[in-house]
Amino acid sequence: MAEIVLAYCSSHAPMMSSQREAASEEQRKNFFGALDFLKQEAVDRGVQAVVVLSNEHYTNFFLENFPQYCIGLGEKNWGPTEEWLPIDKVWIPGHPGLANHIAQYTLDHGFDPAFSHLLELDHGIMTVYFELDNDMKLPLVPIVQNCAVPPLVPVRRAYEFGKALGDAIRSYDGLERVAVVGAGGLSHWIGNPRVGDINEEFDRWFLEVLESGDLEQVLDMPNEEIELAGNGNHEMRSWLAVAGAVSATQPKATKLAYEAVYPWITGMAVAQWETGLGETGLAETNGTAATAAAEQREESLA
């Protein structure tokens, strides 16, 4: 059976690709250092496929048909779609075996996800997937959620979907080592007068909640309160789904990076749920490794 050997979440502001240098050197070092660390972890842990949860931005779906969840079942998916996003537009390999298993398992366990044999992937998945595999060859099962258009799935339901997703992966016998990644958040506003604001207080509190493992503090949060940290904060559903996916073995996350990057209009965070190394000194280990990865990246850019 498959194991979830790597689980993490990252913010996915498109400017992390399109305006990378707009962030300060220290911010880039911290944020990308964490992602570089996780990229190396994926290699070291022999990840065979990755499931990425993100959210729909009116790329695949319009108002006449807007699923709460859609699983990409195809042999391949395409992305990124945005003409201005400086990531090569390519066919990305899917993993139909794992994807179909997730779809069937979640259908059998109280959820009704839609499916697609061809998803067009925008920055929501592609920025974070690209940072995981610059060659974009790692088989990807994309799951897009509705985090924008009411009525929205309650955050507790997103967490429960993540639990079913985790169980689905762990009951799949076609692979051994799978990564689960959430992409989106944290606080940000788009398309309204507050675009550019970041709610650092919320971001730090949310990360502390994830690190504490006491998710009851957030699972009853209504949409109106979520939006006090921005309409983009609905993307916390991806974070809570990943938390749910690994909750049986690792309820506590470890923050690897947090930077309020105002030029990217987003509270940019990276957090990991340690699933493969056990309980031995994760935060210290990760912090050191993430810093080392950041320094290596800066040297390569110099």
């Binding site: 009116y58 108002l63 003409e83 201005w84 788009i190 398309g191 675009v195 949310f206 940290a229 309409n231």
Partner: protein, 92 residues
């Protein structure tokens, strides 16, 4: 209005079956737009779209596709902002 903006944005993206920039030949005339909506479209008027109720995610996508920076379109939308009085559970 939503459909017209959505189709225009998607027409210019690099989709799996893309055959070129569909925005160059995009015919907004086939959409049933009010005069105000058509004017907003023709003028790439973000503020007007906001006032007309275009979904904020589509406003963002439209602004990016038009080449507006966030800073640019924030200036256009700022006059319509309201002071937030509510507090979240994380606020001390």
């Amino acid at each position: 209005m939503h459909r017209a903006v959505y189709d225009w944005v998607r027409a210019g993206e690099v989709n799996s079956d893309a055959g070129g920039d569909g925005r160059a030949t995009f015919d907004v005339g086939v959409y049933d737009l009010s005069p105000e909506e058509r004017k907003a479209f023709d003028n790439q008027d973000i503020a007007a779209f906001y006032q007309l109720g275009l979904h904020e995610v589509l406003i963002n996508r439209y602004a990016r596709a038009c080449g507006f920076s966030r800073e640019d379109y924030r200036k256009a939308l700022e006059p319509y902002g309201k002071k937030e009085e509510r507090k979240g559970r994380w606020q001390k």
